[in-house]
Point group: D2
Chain length 369, copies 4
């Protein structure tokens, strides 16, 4: 309702602001009996954290997660898990002048008009920093899904600004600062980002994310469709302006004879569906792509207005990502995991634990993007 | 949760199947004191109903809505409004053979595996016919939004199959069977559809929809972002595979200096944001585009499997839309209206009825698509 | 939120008014694969329906239920079940004068001030008639609970007005118009009611209801405690002013050494807990009592005010129950069943289908009231 | 769902265990623009905290609250308010032996069977210590209700064990350790408690709580009735076994001519309704009473079983309240405030900010208990 709780059965309530004392979340509804420690969560946070390359914000935060509740002797008890991440590199003075004007493309304007008050320090509640607790919660979801159903997640960047990134291998993703499934083009991407940063400008990105080994039957018919919930989750990530499932916008120009994935005794012959038919998982890979807009906090001077409505120019100093899409891959994975665990629990609520036996799914049928 | 209730404060619970005795919905949370009769709802249903041209299903249904509750002497009482639409042209025998196989690209497969049982008559619950009650509920939402806030809605088709439809004027939209904002190209579109139908095939479509005169401040920061809820609503429409807000996927290749809409004393200078910043409405037009996949029920023979997993071919007879996108425009408008009324109510719950005075918004700044 | 949906996973959305064309509900989240027909539902409706004795309202309604959706070939499909009950004995003129004044103890006053409009025909939405759809939905819940877990429900009246009704045997409950577990005192109760009716007055009642064969482990720790949800459900029944679980208010004067039910290898030695500890079912009978106030619509003249706030006297003619508690037993059973099925589904969502083996529960340990 | 979030529009998500590092809550949906600091919250926590007299647990905790988010420069921003209370006097060893057996009347048994794992330290999640964050959240709710609507809250103990406490004056409530509205009988109550403690036993209590200056019109017709939500809130407090509104169980023996509160031009003539008719507030005082069972953790030896189901005796050492009801008054006030603020927000969501003018309410008509 008020925007800070995600999910219905595996519920994550997020709190905090970019420059307050701490951010975090409370997970309610986690199944009991799962081994869990900070070490299960920290790696995903480390993939998202700032300061890991010159292409992201230079804010220096360890983003160390602390489990405050819900785990006893290393095992989840079924009661709420509070995850706390302390803010350690706040510099509120960087943001003092922002309070008098509105950054074009930024939530400054809307928060001010909605609430009549806003926390300007690092964007307050509108900061992408608030995705960190979701990455932490997503790590818990991923662990349960992997242990219970063998489900895994991966994501990679497919485009940055004008540059489409050729797919080479998922093995490259951890080895470059862009989460690109590519080794050859990395120097070109770095040069592009260096130039952009020098120009005081920013760019967008397109990210692909997939869940693999998803059982058939997760989702619901009308409004809580698996793909609808995925769209909701992805569009809720800061700066996302578009979401597509499977063939997505390309399906507009497809014919029915092409788009509909044929079924064979060894599985589906294609995955235009992106692993979802009628709002329910097919057993194929669930494949999603998202469009991320360019960062609104840029150094270049912009035309704007002040609180009184008079013309003003805005330049944003402080520490900002020139492409928020660079760190979006682990976030998108986490949000996808949070949607899936919720539907896993919803499914067994209504239909029980036993999954109907299904025809085998053809190996390798569901490729990303 | 189980997928049949949409919204949190203006809640619409949908029920029925394509070939059952009736479909309908219950609206809970409608503000009291609004004049309402069937005549306020029927026009939108008529825009969506089947049988209006040769390019849509030939099922012949008046889709006449009946108000069963919640209105006393022509005025909403604040109690639940039940809207009933009787099914009058069911032909269950058309669908008998469907029960033994799975149509490629159809929910047959997933319903069967999720529930272990399914209603095959016209797709049962997975039929796009279930959007009719949402169009009816949307008409109630539109009326309140128009009377209370002056908000209006319009939509049009921007692409059908491979053909992009040039924008000429919104005045054309009611005058052709495609909801196209165009007069010149209609014969070409009709020829395209005739050929497709003859080939027993289907195609996709892209629809643009907008809400105009939306106050600033509707939405919520993190998860119940206005655009996230819009994405959820749109992706919940049958056959939708992609959603974008404002510049959408095009924002990937934009620079921050271009994408961020400048503010001027007379309003925003552009609308790449699509009327939403930080999940909260800006006061500009809210602009959305959706991608609709080709209909999965086609006459052409397709490769599939039967319930035992053995190879089978499937041909779908009966009455189907060759392009479900053709009737999607009023549906998309309705879903957008349902999202907005919910956020209107949420906003006044938290922040009260008084909206902060805002700088005037430049006329005509927010054009669709 | 707006009060017409009950439950979270087995969700019942209620609609209609006392004198509108129909009342009914939509059940969303019912497990698939259960045989269901009107014949499973009608018997409970018949227990609640008006006109069955001279001690209840003489409104003559068959309260025949019709399944509009969610069942295919006699089996639940997992999609929403719409249950419709047509109103057939409306007499709107009986209520015309009520619109100008407020009945003491009635919702007239609050509806008017909340909504600024109200449907005065038979109390509109505030009529106890709206419990009929809940009895229907409860019959569906009872069937699933019985078939899946062996859970059964029974209730009986323990006090009417000043008269406490001695417990003789549950076998007597269906054989008298009061749902009394008693045969001896029935003539006395009938005489009491006849006198009350003659006096144009009304009285309260106390009802006991129990669920038997409830598995251990249903419920949740903090706010969605099983007993909290029961209290919510019971206090939501028209005219209920008090709810107690197990020893209830008597536990105030108990000592800890007495109240805490000892555990033995053959089960609990008592049931002061009423089958709930820490908000979670113990495996014992869940026992509840409710207090029902006297009917507010009475023939005796009462002091009140009119819409302008001026003094007025009110006498209510038309057809009313002199003790709404008489028909409350099947309603309380239904509401208890609705709470339990929801927690059954919640439990298997979080903890899976397999219940932990528990020590045997001593036979007959949990007696009602 | 999973029990840790209370409320729909003013949502409080509670986390923590009795002996973990911290407990706390996240409030989502608080209206923006209200001044708020720890000093507004601490006094209510101090009323509830342990160690304030010899009649409550000797656990020594300051229960100091810390605002982690949602407040900027002393003003609520409309974003989630995280309140943290660190546990500072955990003694986990006190509880070591509890893990092998089940205390009669305690949640030990049900947690173990529900989750297959439990945190035995101080009752873990089932400890009444988890009411502290609700008292903190309630203080925020109280402040808003007082500033916006003039609504105030008070409560007092009306019975402890077998002793009914004569009402003398609400002025006495802060001046004795029992929250009794009485000065004369305090020595008798203290002697009673001393004897009980010496006997290693415990007793129950009955608490009355009221909200005053509640506007007419808060609540909803069917399931989210104001009184139903109050019953839910109260029964969710640890050890509560019964709830009644207004005349409560006494209304069973009342006649309609007596029970229904007459309306006069100067207000209602009585308050048997407890300030709620048809689930909606009348403008009178909302009056509630709750029954609290005797503490289950007592020093006296009890018959029980161990994990294997074999007979065992249980004695509970460590620090426990001999009457949990003693500290229940501020908790009940807080829960009542949380219900009311939610309905205040729900009301203005549906009906707007403007309240209909109502006839004046007679002064002093609504007295507690």
């Amino acid at each position: 309702m008020s925007g800070s709780t995600f999910g219905t059965l595996f519920r994550v309530t997020n709190f905090g602001e970019s420059h307050g004392p701490a951010i975090g979340c409370v997970i309610d509804g986690c199944p009991p009996g799962m081994k869990l420690s900070e070490a299960d969560i920290q790696p995903d946070l480390d993939r998202r954290r700032p300061g890991t390359s010159r292409h992201v914000t230079q804010r220096n935060e360890p983003d160390a997660v602390e489990i405050l509740s819900g785990v006893y002797e290393g095992v989840t008890t079924g009661t709420p898990i509070c995850l706390l991440i302390r803010n350690t590199d706040q510099r509120s003075k960087d943001y003092g002048n922002i309070l008098q004007t509105f950054r074009p493309g930024h939530a400054d304007y809307t928060y001010w008009h909605k609430y009549g008050v806003r926390d300007p320090r690092g964007g307050g509640r509108s900061s992408a920093r608030l995705t960190a607790p979701m990455v932490a919660a997503g790590a818990v979801a991923k662990k349960w899904l992997r242990e219970k159903h063998g489900t895994t997640f991966d994501g990679h960047m497919v485009q940055i600004g004008e540059i489409e990134i050729p797919f080479e291998s998922m093995d490259h993703v951890p080895n470059n600062p862009f989460f690109a499934a590519n080794a050859t083009d990395i120097p070109r991407l770095e040069a592009y980002m260096d130039e952009l940063r020098k120009a005081g400008d920013s760019c967008g990105a397109r990210i692909a994310v997939a869940a693999r080994h998803v059982p058939v039957g997760w989702g619901a018919p009308l409004f809580d469709k698996l793909d609808a919930d995925i769209a909701y989750a992805m569009m809720g990530i800061n700066a996302v302006k578009g979401v597509e499932i499977g063939a997505g916008f390309a399906s507009v120009a497809q014919r029915g004879t092409t788009h509909g994935d044929s079924l064979t005794p060894s599985g589906f012959a294609g995955n235009n569906a992106g692993g979802v038919l009628g709002g329910i998982s097919t057993g194929q890979d669930v494949t999603v792509q998202i469009a991320i807009k360019p960062t609104s906090s840029i150094r270049s001077s912009r035309e704007s207005i002040d609180l009184a409505g008079a013309p003003a120019t805005v330049e944003t100093f402080g520490r900002h990502d020139p492409c928020v899409g660079i760190r979006a891959t682990p976030i998108a994975e986490a949000m996808l995991a949070l949607v899936l665990i919720d539907h896993a629990l919803q499914h067994r609520a209504q239909c029980g634990d036993v999954h109907v036996a299904v025809p085998p799914i053809a190996a390798g049928q569901g490729s990303i993007g």
